[in-house]
Symmetry: C2
């Protein structure tokens, strides 16, 4: 479900960002550019990274978990596996009125970690997932426009007040993002199908070929179709290991559905069933064309709305 | 195997192209631009298409199978399933000294069709496969630069004379292409792995999602990773039905190897074997990075060579 109308723009006095790389850094830059934040404090494990983020104007100061006291907004933009530890560290400093959100690619596991870590303060945690990225990482890759026109899925908890949800939505909207609402389970099922499974499939294909004795010859003849198909196999192995494990049951279900699809195609191929293959290929082609057309129409509508401001 | 040095440039008096769309039209335009051909005659099933190709300057005249008499080079750039019929039609007009080649994506089936159609004139057929394409089709999509820096795989027959092979190689080289030599079986095994299987996998994923009751929601959240992964599922269903059937046994073998790879990954996922998953993902990532680096190095070397002409 997409929010019909923007919530009111809200200004933040202090934002604390845990993880000042591409995702957290771009969030900070976008809010600064929108004049929506007075002070940004960066927290992270590597002093060197934090210093670079400060030199780049992404953060105004370097802090630690105690900086959360007095903040009105906190973003956890660290690897998902660190979420629980970070929330445990910041909990003692979490005052009423402060909202914490995150940018993790999986949500059910994050919610579970947050409940374990925050306990009676869970109402202050509004889980989120911005659907945006770049090939590069680190503070140097952060840009103020990363979230322009991109979706951010909030998987609000029953405990979250409308006001807290609106605060997080407003921050992302001021980054130029479009707010969508799903439950954590819905989110994880959707992204298992359209993101996590394709990553696993791309890794599997490249690994399958790389393991052959004639891998060099095979790669030699791979062309642009192969390059695009496997682009996501260039993604971080550690990050996708974590996502695969965090969303294990939904991903297993998707993998099983896909394997069934492949066995249907295998049977058609073995039987030289050209009509059957063509029907599957044609349905896929037309579904993809409709999807691309819908994306382009949405982009045009957005450009038109922006032009009418 | 790649030809170490270019064969001598050869000029053609008459080129006959069966199929004046993207592939055949670009071949004609490239040879014209290289001043390597005096006259190009187009042959095809649709008069309208041939007229457009003539108006675009791709062909000089519209002909039929009898135009092959007196030609020194003939390119079959029609759908692979038509190859045998076209070769049967042109055979009565095929004189000594004329070389016929093709642009089909599969080669063992083409060789079989050519042997059946040409009989004792088989020595005049040098099978080929240019590894190039664009999203668009038809004469309007044809461009003289389509083959610049692209590979053309020749799967020469034992009956082909070195002179005939050199004629075909020279034509493609004058289009800017790089000549590679494989046997038809080697060709089909290689392309089953790096092209035909990825197409089938992309079609399968889109079809799997399109068939769901919540397909709209799933597509709504699909992002750029999904878009690139499934780009080849936008390809022509008829063409890929034909390729799948033509290269059936190699494609079945690849599909089985891939399914085995998926079942290994499934077992790791089911066992929450993070180290195992990460190892597969990391091997794939590093193999892909090495492949991309090799492509870029080859492109730079080529740019350097061209700059040194």
């Amino acid at each position: 479900m997409q929010s019909a109308s923007p919530t009111s723009s809200r200004s933040f006095n202090r934002l604390v960002v845990f993880g000042v790389g591409l995702i957290g850094g771009s969030f900070a830059l976008a809010l600064k550019q929108a004049n929506a934040v007075k002070q940004v404090i960066g927290v992270g494990r590597r002093a060197e990274t934090l210093k670079r983020a400060q030199a780049l104007g992404i953060i105004d100061a370097i802090g630690d978990a105690s900086s959360v006291a007095g903040a009105d907004l906190v973003l956890i933009a660290a690897p998902v596996a660190q979420t629980e530890t970070l929330l445990r560290e910041l909990k003692p400093h979490l005052q009423p009125g402060t909202v914490v959100t995150d940018a993790g690619s999986t949500k059910s596991d994050v919610v579970q970690a947050a409940r374990a870590a925050l306990g009676d303060k869970i109402a202050q945690f509004v889980p989120g997932h911005p659907i945006a990225g770049r090939e590069q990482n680190g503070p140097e890759a952060a840009i103020a426009t990363l979230y322009h026109g991109k979706k951010v899925v909030l998987t609000a908890l029953p405990e979250n007040s409308p006001e807290y949800i609106a605060m997080v939505a407003s921050a992302w909207q001021q980054c130029g993002a479009l707010i969508h609402h799903l439950s954590a389970d819905e989110h994880d099922a959707v992204f298992a199908a359209v993101s996590h499974l394709p990553h696993l499939l791309a890794y599997a294909l490249v690994n399958d070929i790389a393991a052959r004795s004639n891998a060099d010859r095979l790669f030699q003849y791979a062309a642009s179709g192969f390059r695009d198909f496997t682009r996501i196999a260039g993604s971080s192995p550690e990050m996708w290991r974590d996502i695969s494990l965090a969303n294990r049951s939904a991903l297993l279900a998707e993998l099983d559905a896909y394997t069934l699809q492949l066995s249907t195609l295998r049977a058609m191929l073995a039987a030289s069933d050209g009509a059957g293959l063509e029907q599957v290929y044609a349905r896929a082609q037309s579904a993809r064309q409709a999807w691309i057309a819908a994306i382009e129409a949405a982009e045009q509508a957005r450009a038109y709305e922006q032009g009418g401001d």
